[in-house]
Symmetry: D2
């Protein structure tokens, strides 16, 4: 079985996202991690490379050199995976794209919309080479939800509601690390960290584009440099309305990402914490709980009905699509550069509206 | 056992709210329905009185006469229950209050805030004589939720979210009756019909007052004279934020009223469709589902744990409190005239903010 | 509106079942409680009659006299409601039936099968005059479940599972009152007290008769005179298999009565603690949660979709049927004397099988 | 990072269990699949080896040769993974154990108890070299449940109920493959295929040993050679009672494995289809839903709270323990040969009791 050689920037062993990406890669059986620049601290980068069994020559301490040297090797990496703090996403991605190496990058794309736009213009021909890790679109039942909307199971959409609630910052003493520092995580706070996931999901599943928003942006725990709670009204194409609520101080919530769509004929609901089920509700009072991998579901999945798939399996689906893309296949559901740009526009519009007391603000792409 | 004689205005047999009030009265065992002006159509009023076994002399066709004559009888009614269309709430209530007869009235109080204010000023000394049927505050576990907030189980509140979703108007051909005619139901549409319940619940349970709001008010089914969907941002005292979403076109939803509160220490959730349970969530990842009538719950209820109480039992709790009030007892949880006025302010502020593209609008009491 | 005059034997105010019956009667609006022999202690019987507003002449201290005198009155009761401890069910019922007064009786019918059989033979022509209070068959969605089975929605049945779990006897110091004394409550303990409900439900919904059983009967809390936990294998007609598990020491359970049926085409589940929903599951991985009062449900109910009905509303449905029966209408779903006899056979077969280490034991009717 | 070289017998690509084992291996990052005898058909074995990227010299067509040659290689496999049909488990395991290679084997251990006993006696010193794939004990919250029982959170146990329901054989035309042929799958049918999992879970979590059982064993779909539904009463040590119900014709069920324990102080429930949550219920009416990876849970897991772990992650936990064992560490929770023998005793006792109309039958170890 052919496997694609890949490299990782950031994500030393023990970091949440680094481990997640490695497990997702492993689940597919289609990749080998052969190179890395796993920390900005040289000594840690070397040790991390050793811990992961990399050839010492490919355990880089400088990502610009990594991009250059991997591009030059006949057995160089086919994909660079970027799991650094947000501030480094763009420069690292640019280096690898410039070197001709496709990139899979954590969200959000950039720290500012202006940076993101320049980047998007510069690499606009590389759309297939810049994949964004919007993990949640990798869940089988999220893709099934999108399919149901497309087939008209809901009728014309009237409303889209998405909420993404966590509580890991509910304690005023929580250590939010680089995510709470605008220089490394961006000014968006919860809007960038989890709001972009929620926003991508709303557009991904509905197939509609959000045209304008009105936001309330809050710092519910005093003293933080970035917002920890936001509630945003959305207007989509076709006069569809919507709401998006994100919080990292919603006490008692783990990773409660929940999407609801309401159409003329039916409503549809998906909860990330019970990801194997979709609920389709109709006006006759019937709520149909549709199980992943049931015969009613054409969307493919890894495991049979009743054998839970989780977060890593969703992530692995993005990587399986990426392997397909590298092999020349189509991967229409995979988020690309435009999805990254879109997320940046969402963040900036939300912050702007919030600063203007909720004034309706257009998304400009 | 002494029972209080009561009369009803509106609510002929077969009408939803008339039957509900009669069953709730019966559940308490503390009232007898002895008089009524059950329809604005004289013939129907007489037939309805007969069907309910009223003395024909007390099956009125004119509520002004009913108020006058019942006030004059030595065995006259102790309470007038108003279940007419919204437009009649104020004039009927005024007639009975003027006649010295206490009133229990369906919400919303009035068609306009101006009317409501004049009424409230005129009858400001009659606060104990004007009870508003905010049904959902009668659920045992709503009262328990309020108690938990008061005892500090949640810590200081940071966020309050309430949603109230129905779908009975999702079909463009639905017959909304007088509720969709601004002359009889008011201009509020779903904001008045169910939004007032949601708003009352948020303030009742949190103990906080909403100071300002920003609303998106929509007519999702084309051609309606009143809104059928609204999403409203709320600001409460103490910088607590909130959201209120109501819809009567949320396909697949029956009567999905759901309240969530988030405090420094815990979150709390209540769903009307499973009313016997409260969920208290803490940052250690534990969600405690608290059962009505369990030994952990001091709030009294009618039935033992595991024997479901429903909507009628909640309504009966309001009437049991009302019987107490008539008997000279205190009933601090019973919504009065001020709650009715508050609901009217909410409707008007929401419509005004909606008309001004979501401009933040103060609630003025 | 005509109401039927009724009398109650047992059930002084404050007793669980007495209050439940009175509230259920009131919900129907079709009965008036006018007579009673509410306690076996004369002074308490008189005080209870006064508290309930009975004419002192009809607050009896002797139920034989009550039967005789009520039968002689032109305005005598049309129904005698028996809510005494189990030991008194048969003698009281016999007295009223002999006097020509129909009876609605709490379950179980008797203390022994032999007594029950004699009674059934003696009153075999009075089937319409002897109604058994199998409360749970009064839930709208239990009746809908029966209807779905009958219409073939499940295909031929293969398995029937019912469990009824409580924990009010889990504490060794619980005061079980007369229920734990075989002289007043019978030898069945949990088998008689709640097992009969579960057994009735299984036969009522499936439409099948249980032909034999094998039981494990346990005293999990030491020192009790009657069993507190039992697990019973069932064989129904048509080779359908089943299981019935009852416990009053299932820690953490309130009143967890749950029925599951499995047919060739679909499975069906109902939980008493969420009584407004039925779940129909099919082999394509879809579970349809069917809401009471949705347009998909022809079985009538009191309240619209989303407005919870509870235990009292189920009880009231039995009484509404009883009113119909008194008025000469048909009431095919109402449990009668044969259902009471059937319950007694179940108790006796279960105890016998348990005593013989689970030997399969036939139900002999 | 050192990885352990492993080989697989059975489990060609596309087979359910082969893929599952490979993904679970990959998730750990601690194993490399380097050898295999992946099919009993030589050509398929070679092609499967090629598809998985094996060195052709190690894509064996004969497992006896594989055992011999791998044992002789300096870089030979450290573990043989057996995913053949049941009939081959013992002979293959014996060959590898004889060659000094540890084995991880699918359940059930054997086709008959006699075979299993001989095997267990022969290899009784190899307990650390014979691991049984009781997958469900690898779920974090199953291990947490065991820990809670051990710490006394439930008090002394009174009852243990486990059910394992599937419907993939509900259709009379289902192709059950070798599982429905007693020569390859054993006579146990559903008892061996899924009952052994349920039985292991009951003993694993409770820490109690089942001493005797009484079984009803059924062929609910006519014409099958092995049973498809069984309901079994259990007696554990300390007079604890229990029930075990398995079905592969429970229409509408995917892989519904559910465990409930009742103790003097609390009840505990776990459902495999929502594996990240445990429910602890107490007599005060509180049900605490405990989330995996919450701070209240000391049992380690892979992912943070709210990021679902599923079936593959549970399986990977068994493999991570196995890697530890290979490295000389302790792995007290890993099922070994004795658990395999125990499962075989359960199957045989159940079949024997079923054949004797449910006679109580002792488990003899």
């Amino acid at each position: 079985m052919k496997t694609w050689p890949v490299g990782m920037i950031g994500g030393a062993p023990g970091s949440f996202m680094g481990d997640v990406h490695r497990r997702a890669l492993a689940l597919t059986g289609q990749f080998s991690l052969v190179a890395g620049c796993l920390s900005r601290h040289p000594q840690q980068a070397l040790e991390a490379g050793q811990a992961l069994g990399l050839d010492p020559a490919r355990a880089y301490t400088d990502w610009t050199r990594m991009a250059r040297e991997e591009a030059a090797r006949p057995d160089g990496i086919a994909l660079a995976i970027i799991v650094t703090p947000n501030a480094m996403h763009l420069p690292v991605a640019a280096a690898f794209l410039d070197a001709g190496i496709p990139v899979l990058c954590e969200k959000p794309l950039a720290l500012t919309l202006e940076q993101a736009r320049h980047f998007a213009i510069r690499f606009e021909e590389k759309t297939n080479d810049m994949i964004m890790a919007y993990t949640y679109s990798g869940y089988a039942m999220v893709r099934e939800a999108r399919r149901l909307v497309q087939t008209g199971a809901l009728g014309a959409l009237r409303g889209i509601q998405v909420e993404y609630l966590q509580d890991w910052l509910a304690d005023a003493d929580s250590d939010g690390g680089w995510r709470l520092d605008p220089r490394t995580g961006g000014a968006g706070g919860c809007v960038g960290d989890i709001g972009t996931h929620a926003f991508h999901l709303a557009e991904f599943v509905s197939g509609l584009r959000c045209e304008a928003l009105s936001a309330r942006i809050s710092h519910l725990v005093a003293g933080r440099a970035v917002p920890d709670d936001a509630q945003i009204q959305l207007r989509f194409a076709d006069d569809t309305v919507g709401g998006l609520w994100v919080s990292q101080v919603a006490t008692g919530c783990g990773n409660a990402l929940r999407l609801r769509l309401f159409g003329e004929k039916a409503g549809l609901e998906w909860n990330q914490e019970q990801p194997d089920t979709l609920v389709l509700s109709t006006m006759d009072g019937c709520q149909t709980h549709i199980a992943r991998a049931g015969s009613a579901v054409p969307t493919p999945s890894l495991l049979p009905r009743g054998h839970p798939e989780g977060y890593l399996e969703a992530f692995a689906r993005l990587y399986a699509d990426t392997a397909g893309l590298l092999g020349g296949h189509n991967a229409p559901l995979l988020p690309r550069l435009d999805a990254g740009l879109r997320g940046q526009e969402f963040i900036e519009a939300a912050l702007e509206s919030g600063a203007r007391y909720g004034a309706w603000t257009a998304l400009r792409t």
